[in-house]
């Protein structure tokens, strides 16, 4: 797979580069601190080793000077926090793209599948009910609701167009899962009893992988899905092919099973 390397995976979403920037800055700082520190440490070990004619001496070191590393670390951390972390976090987690300009989907995790509920051509989600859940209707879409008649559900297979934000409402049917697309640098827990919004904007066409990042039971390792990021036309063609043709039927979402 060309998307994955010995270091970070390919940057396939709009904010992947911003997260990577942070990772590189911090790792560069970490390595710098560690190397300088180790050199000093090694020097101390060699210079003050026990040997003939050398005696320990009580050196007076100014205590205020010893606080310099603490102050430097705190200053570095707080500047990273103020200049990079909080602004980025706010734009990623505390504001969401407009629903009108986005692909809106519901992503529902279950042991051990990722269900994606697309609203169909009308852009409206049908009502869902736990009582209606069965093998052919994994999300329990209400067949009597006209809004849901053209909805469709894919399992472990999601398609998104390139260059358009995706607004997903993440939830879970049973236990806690975690929605993780390494190439998009996006991760969010799917918690039963809650709906957590998340968004991402794919910027690179290709096939990527969704995995579950939170232990969810026996099949945790095989809980994966494919994400296909397609050109606008390919996506539209796929979308049209998925939407149920007939409005009436015992269950609106049976076609693709």
């Amino acid at each position: 797979m060309g998307n994955y390397s010995w270091l970070l995976p390919v940057q396939a979403s709009s904010f992947a580069a911003r997260i990577d920037l942070g990772l590189w800055i911090i790792h560069a700082a970490m390595i710098l601190i560690f190397v300088l520190w180790t050199i000093f440490f090694a020097y101390l070990l060699v210079a003050y080793r026990q040997r003939d004619g050398h005696k320990a001496e009580r050196i007076h070191i100014d205590h205020w000077k010893s606080l310099a590393p603490d102050a430097a670390v705190l200053f570095f951390e707080l500047s990273v926090v103020a200049l990079y972390v909080i602004p980025t976090w706010s734009s990623l987690k505390m504001s969401l793209p407009d629903e009108k300009d986005s692909i809106v989907v519901n992503i529902v995790a279950e042991q051990f599948n990722w269900n994606v509920h697309y609203p169909g051509p009308d852009g409206k989600f049908g009502k869902r009910s736990a009582a209606l859940i069965d093998f052919s209707n994994p999300l329990g879409i209400d067949p009597t609701d006209p809004a849901g008649a053209d909805d469709f559900v894919t399992v472990n297979d999601m398609h998104f167009p390139v260059g358009k934000p995706v607004l997903a409402r993440l939830s879970s049917k049973d236990v806690i899962h975690s929605f993780f697309i390494p190439a998009f640098r996006i991760k969010q827990d799917a918690v039963p009893g809650m709906v957590v919004p998340l968004w991402f904007e794919p910027t690179l066409e290709g096939d990527y992988e969704v995995t579950c990042a939170q232990l969810c039971g026996v099949g945790h390792a095989i809980m994966r899905a494919d994400v296909k990021v397609q050109s606008r036309t390919d996506y539209d063609r796929w979308f049209a092919s998925m939407a149920p043709v007939k409005k009436a039927g015992p269950s609106g979402a049976t076609e693709e099973w």
């Binding site: 797979m1 994955y4 970070l8 995976p9 911003r18 990772l23 911090i26 970490m30 601190i33 440490f41 101390l44 070990l45 080793r49 026990q50 005696k55 320990a56 001496e57 009580r58 070191i61 010893s66 603490d70 670390v73 705190l74 951390e77 707080l78 990273v80 926090v81 972390v85 909080i86 976090w89 990623l92 987690k93 042991q111 736990a130 859940i133 093998f135 049917k173 049973d174 236990v175 975690s178 390494p182 640098r185 991760k187 969010q188 827990d189 918690v191 039963p192 009893g193 992988e209 995995t211 579950c212 990042a213 939170q214 232990l215 969810c216 039971g217 026996v218 945790h220 390792a221 994966r224």
Partner: protein, 576 residues
Amino acid sequence: MSEHGHELSFTEKYIFSVDHKVIGLQYMITSFIFLLIGFTMILIMRWQLAFPGTVIPIFGKLLPATFAPGGILGPTGYNQMGAMHGTIMVFLGIVPLAVGAFGNYVMPIQIGAPDMAFPRMNMLSYWVYLPGGILMLSSFLMPGGAAQSGWTSYPPLSVINPGQTVWLLSMVFLITSSLLGSMNFIVTVLNLRAPGMTLWRMPLFCWSQFVTAFILLLAFPPLEAAAILQLSDRVLHTSFFMPDGLVVAGQAAQYAGGGAVLLYQHLFWFLAHPEVYVLILPPFGIISEIIATNTRKPLFGYKEMVYAMMSIAAMSFLVWAHHMFLSGMSPALSNFFLITTMIISVPSVALLTCLILSLKGASIRFTTPMLFALSFLPMFGIGGLTGLPLGLTVTDIYLHDTYYVIGHFHYVVVTGSLMGLFGGVYHWFPKMFGRKMDDCLGKIHFWGSVIAMNGILMPMLVIGLQGQSRRLFDPTAQLHNLIGQPMHVLSTISAIALMLFQIPFIYNFFNSMFRGELVDSNPWKATTLDWDCPSPPPHGNFAKVPRVYRGPYEYSHPDHNEDWLPQSREHAEAAR
């Protein structure tokens, strides 16, 4: 308690003993056994990670078919071992070793006390810990097997999975044991110091135990409450952590609903983050003792270190939700925990800085315990530094729940805590048995362990950066993990090597107990009170209650003829 003059039976002396030293040794042996069990589990798991779907050598044939059908580890077995590895290492291994063993054995002699304040309670706390541990292990034999929801035991998974009930019961035992121990430690430090031993003359190890005891006392009850609530969810079918409308395997779950899933995570991490400092503060105390002794000069910044420990302990209660940035918790609240997390790194840096500056001007003796203490510094440094990208909300989005996390906290706990504790064993072994451990075997143990540990953990940081999730039974089931597979192989080979390098230690420990070089009561020429009493100390520790005249680390005192001036020596003798 039993008085002098009356012969103690074998049981009173070695099994139901109220002597803090015997209890400390009981803790030490028991926790080392648990560490070995937990490590064996991870070896089996690591084999599966490196060579998925192949027969496990040696252990494959021994494991029952429910675990490893045909000698190949199954996913249920993997999850059980994963959960038990975490639980055993943290609650039955490192904490009892750091607090139960060293705290019990060394702390009372260092402050000049004849025993703990409540010797019988001390005995009780061991005899609650041991059944708790045995109960934990016995859960493998229960129908449905052991806990398999990770050591964090997040509901709803832990409520619907089999095996968790025994885990929760056993946790209640372990928490009770910790609470008894922590009350005892605090009272002992406050009320049983030898005359002249003011708080500011206590060795750093005693300070670390004192501070740790407060963490245990106040952080454990929330987990106890969470365990009780989860237990009632499992046994009484209440729904504290079970939300409305759960559908498990296509069936509506039989719970009334209305529970809050995130509540458990808050309560769990309210304990589990301070717990990390319970794992690291006592080893910090141990290596402070070792470094002071082997540099032959006073520690740099004694008061600064005490204040740093106190602020770490206090701050550790305010950072817990940095484990929950992506749990669905309010993103605004994340910013609060982000700031507190950054602040808590300052006292940790201060501790490291003080210890490394203590080397300046020293005459460093590279004894075996000193090697362990010195390796602690850079290795804990890596552990601390790798915590930085995990503590920052934005980079945590990518790194959370990957192998990077595993690499990070094992650098802290294994190359940090565990190495410090090994150092403590080599340092206080002469006190415990009156004999020294073999130096050559000790050095083999040290170099082998430190290299093997890095061989295990460094690859984890790499595959973590590649985005590999943790707790995967078979990493090759996911495409993006394939490239990192050689790293798993390297890690597994290093783990086997680490196991082999423990053999010299185990042999050395038991062999030196009976055949080691005989030494006097103060072989390291140390100043603290623990080196003032005979080795091994008799019942009651000191023939005459010692009197303390100065601070703990008076090495190379200019007015004294030797390069160590014990705390109990009334006057310095001028150099001849």
